[in-house]
């Protein structure tokens, strides 16, 4: 299995404040990593850094074989990030949002409908504008976007937050499908009970650094960096 993430003493700054202060981290393709930590530990910053949205200030960082210092735009095309806000256009329907994103990514917009169906959205909820959907439904649309785009690296920021039981199970299912299909997944979480069972490895963060990495509970074992 190839390396999906390889960070060595990676530092990232927001202004002059180090949001990541020397992170060492490894993850192979097909593996799931859950990142735990208190608020402000650096979990969201780590995900945005891995997405190529926060520049590397020092150290070394490779994501999907591309150097974050020189090829961040290449990295962005190949990762999928689901944040607290799914980043959708409220005036467009879920179907239009997905079709737009797929066309922009040079992918077949025909993937949109099956992806929405996969996350349990069909009928009127597909053709209603996103602004009229509930928070949970919007989250599902965000997940559907990842399912449709099939990125090589999934970055999920607290994917279980504010979701009902059914949608939480759905998150676990699509993460397992993505990892089984060869994608790497990094998910931050405040809910170890839900997140650790789906992880090969569990990293704990604090003060912008990875403090510990231990095996998770995913069947198939863990690869500890």
């Amino acid at each position: 299995m190839g390396s999906a993430i390889r960070l060595r003493s990676a530092v990232a700054l927001q202004g002059r404040f180090p949001v990541l202060s020397g992170v060492d981290l490894d993850l192979d393709q097909g593996r799931v990593m859950v990142v735990l930590g208190a608020n402000g530990a650096g979990k969201t910053s780590l995900l945005r850094f891995l997405a190529g949205l926060v520049p590397i200030a020092s150290g070394r960082g490779e994501v999907l074989g591309a150097d974050l210092a020189t090829s961040a735009s290449d990295v962005r095309r190949r990762v999928g990030l689901l944040g607290h806000d799914a980043g959708l256009h409220d005036e467009l329907t879920p179907l239009e949002n997905l079709a737009f994103a797929l066309r922009a990514s040079r992918l077949d917009p025909g993937r949109a409908l099956p992806a929405l169906d996969r996350v349990g959205l069909s009928g009127r909820s597909v053709t209603t504008t996103v602004g009229q959907l509930s928070a949970g439904q919007r989250r599902r649309v965000g997940i559907a976007l990842l399912v449709a785009r099939r990125p090589q690296l999934w970055l999920l920021d607290e994917p279980h937050a504010s979701l009902d039981e059914v949608t939480r199970s759905l998150v676990a299912e699509v993460v397992e499908e993505a990892a089984s299909g060869g994608a790497a997944v990094v998910a931050s979480s405040h809910e170890p009970d839900l997140a650790v069972p789906m992880a090969d490895v569990v990293a704990t963060m604090g003060g912008g650094a990875v403090l510990a990495v231990v095996p998770g509970g995913r069947v198939g074992g863990g690869h500890v960096a």
Binding site: R76, L81, S105
Partner: protein, 238 residues
Amino acid sequence: MGEQCSPWFQVVEWVVVMWRDALLIARRDLTIELRSKVGIWQILPFGLMALFLFAFALGPQTELLRTAAPGLFWLAVLFSSILAAQRSLNIEGSAATREANRLLGLDPAGVFLGKAAAMAVELLVLEVVLLVGVMLLFHVTIASWLFVVPALVLPGLGLSAAGVLYGSLAGGASTRSTLLPILVLPVEAPVLIAASKSLSRGFGAVTPDAGRWLVVLAIFAVVYSVLGVALYGPLEES
């Protein structure tokens, strides 16, 4: 392989991708505008109200109204274009939406051209409606469509390109709604002058060098389009 990796092939490929992305963005922005109806219910009435107020301020002196009509028409368009630029910026939505779009791999130059094209379409519609308004309120008639058409199209393109570019510049600031007019209005002053002179000729006034003012408008549109293509990506990155 040598043929495919040649610089010319790469340039052609970039141009194709840029225009493809521009079309995608323009279609998205116009769809969102049609749904939200902000243009119809806010920007258009604002432009018409400005025209009404200008007409009331000048009073019922027909000759004065006719003389001032081109300049006041373009002032109304200019102020409305600030709202349109703000709106174009807001279509990108929250910071999360902007980041999500950056992850899609869209060509930044294409995004700029698409947003500018969508805004230009909106401005052209606004200009046509305001033109009818100015004809009714300021007692002017069209003497030469040859000057009126380019005097509407060229400033629309220039104002859109400048509006989207400066919108991106102000986009990261928390004070963007107040910052944008301060940035845009001074640089758009040449458009106000040139467009007013050209439109005067279209309304039948004797305006020497009206053709040259059209050239100024074309240069403004080209310069800001090129600047936008070159700078929109770095501005969004920063």
